[in-house]
């Protein structure tokens, strides 16, 4: 494919001039460079983040920082454990409340719903994802939290023997409301992924169950849910990742009390919220500690999302009987549900 030896006028019809091939090469290398740029960018950010966290991490040690229970700004002492626990508590609360409801909506839409209302219901669930986080915070703090206060007080009083739930003072910004709003926020994504997997259950699996004389619910129990296990777990993990990283709604709704062992209906703190609240005026060691908190948050979401993708991909390839949707499409389908 060289043109070196052929004079310009004698070029055969099968060859193109170097000039004609330029756009192709330019496009190819240009785009490759772009892709490489993305990699470089992320690596760079990660390195800088670690760099900025250095002072705090070297002062307290990595595990000392992450697992020490004392976040004290005035004393310049930073242990992120209460933040970590607050993050995990609110996120798991969101999972416990949100995932069953999300799976139920997915089951309803794919298996039980009359065809005519399928699209409207789907659109309504998706709309929950369109609401920005700050609006959830606004609605949560001025509408939901006050409305739930009497009920929360009642529960705290009735269950006062339970260590974490009852007893203490019930405040308006509190961990429970935070978890509840987070559940609402992760609902659309868990529902979307669940719907994706449920739609891939082969019809003859469902027919096999029905032809054994199964009721509708029994068919779901035998043929649909076991088939979708991996995918639903993947979707739940993605929701967890989202809940862990959520900043603004949580900051508004959780108060700002970085003390461990708090009440369910009392204030708390999370990694994201502490950064949002304290970064503006922080300096020196404090600021470095906040960067370190950001690093912990980053790594945490990385791990959770990695596990999530493993499950989602396993579902896309796993128990399928007829492999008519090969790799890229299946990933793309799940990816579309995640990214869009």
């Amino acid at each position: 494919m060289t043109t070196a030896s052929v004079p310009a006028g004698d070029r055969s019809v099968l060859e193109r001039s170097p000039a004609a091939r330029l756009p192709d090469r330019a496009l190819r290398y240009g785009l490759t460079g772009l892709a490489a740029l993305i990699l470089a960018l992320i690596a760079f950010f990660f390195v800088r983040l670690v760099g900025e966290s250095q002072p705090a991490l070297s002062r307290f040690g990595v595990f000392g920082f992450a697992l020490h229970n004392d976040w004290n700004v005035s004393l310049d002492h930073f242990g992120a454990l209460p933040l970590l626990v607050g993050t995990l508590v609110t996120s798991f609360l969101a999972l416990i409340i949100g995932v069953p409801v999300a799976v139920a909506t997915a089951l309803f839409i794919t298996e039980l719903c009359p065809r005519r209302i399928r699209t409207p219901v789907t659109i309504l669930i998706e709309l929950l994802a369109a609401v920005p986080s700050v609006v959830y915070g606004l609605w949560g703090i001025f509408f939901l939290a006050p409305k739930l206060l009497p009920a929360e007080k009642w529960v705290a009083a009735k269950l006062s023997f339970l260590p974490y739930v009852g007893g203490g003072t019930v405040t308006v910004p509190n961990q429970f409301v935070t978890g509840l709003v987070l559940a609402i926020m992760i609902l659309p994504i868990v529902s979307a992924i669940s719907r994706e997997v449920m739609a891939t259950v082969p019809a003859d699996q469902k027919e096999a169950a029905l032809s054994l004389g199964a009721t509708r619910w029994e068919m779901i129990r035998i043929a649909v849910l076991p088939y979708c296990r991996s995918g639903i777990v993947g979707g739940a993990m993605l929701g967890l990742g989202r809940a862990i990283g959520e900043t603004i709604a949580v900051t508004i709704l959780i108060g700002d009390s970085p003390v461990l062992g708090h009440q369910l209906f009392g204030q708390g703190y999370t990694l994201a919220a502490v950064i949002a609240n304290e970064f503006g005026e922080a300096s020196g060691l404090h600021r470095s500690a906040l960067f370190a908190a950001g690093l912990v948050l980053f790594v945490l979401t990385l791990v959770v999302n990695g596990i999530a993708r493993y499950f989602v991909l396993r579902a896309a390839r796993g128990t399928r009987v007829a492999p008519d949707k090969a790799g890229p499409d299946a990933d793309a389908g799940a990816a579309a549900a995640v990214g869009a």
């Binding site: 065809r115 082969p202 003859d204 699996q205 027919e207 096999a208 169950a209 029905l210 032809s211 054994l212 004389g213 199964a214 009721t215 029994e218 035998i222 043929a223 076991p226 088939y227 296990r229 128990t319 009987v321 007829a322």
Partner: protein, 293 residues
Amino acid sequence: MTADGSSPPRAAAPRGRRRGSGDPAAKTNAAPAASEERPLTKQAHAVRLEKLRAFYGRAEQVKGVDLDFHANQVTAIIGPSGCGKSTLVRCINRMHEEIPDAHAEGRVLLDEVDIYGSEVDVVAVRRAIGMIFQKPNPFPTMSIFDNVAAGLRLSGAGRSDLHEKVESALRGAGLWEEVKDRLAQPGIGLSGGQQQRLCIARSLAVDPEVLLMDEPCSALDPIATLKIEDLIDELKLAVTIVIVTHNMQQAARVADRTAFMLSGELVEVGPTNTIFTNPTDRRTEEYVTGKFG
């Protein structure tokens, strides 16, 4: 169709395999139980279709069929692609209506009870009338044992009962010896033919009256096919069997009676031998001699 072109269909009928008696003429006998010397394991029920019509939306796929399926006999339904035989059979266990916008009209009588009656629970119908599908479909997340037990567990069978019934179903499907040592292994780990017999065991476990088979061997190799055809011969002693097949040789081998469908209508039905050697309708003759299909 031309795959079997080597031996003309007329000669295929007497070449039918083990039928208990070696007498080919015995197959054409009209009285069901008398043609076989083997005693019935269970007296099953007969099915009768009266003016059955099946629709996908507005399109009529099955156009008014009257057909009898005799108790404890194997009835084959043959016909070219798209003639409506699968749709017909799916109306018998009311799976047809699972498809959006599909519905059926007419009567399907299981021993004088119209299963389309307003009082009838469709779940009961499906348990009484089992179905084997074209592609074997054991539940992928379940073991061999659990697959067979699936239907039993729905009706809350007790623990001890379960083992007995699973074993008896697997024996009935001719699979017990092959899997008795690996009941806990996943159902989809078996070969294609074994998977289909597993599905048959699964259906047998709930003790149906009728077994519908929609081209059960079309995804299987010839040896597995033969095994299943032998099995059908045994099964009919306990259940009434309806088998849809595009393979006329198979119909000749396993069926007592054969029905020929064309474009949604029943053209002719009768003892298998008659249909293949001496059909009444010209269209039937053209189909079985391979003039079209």
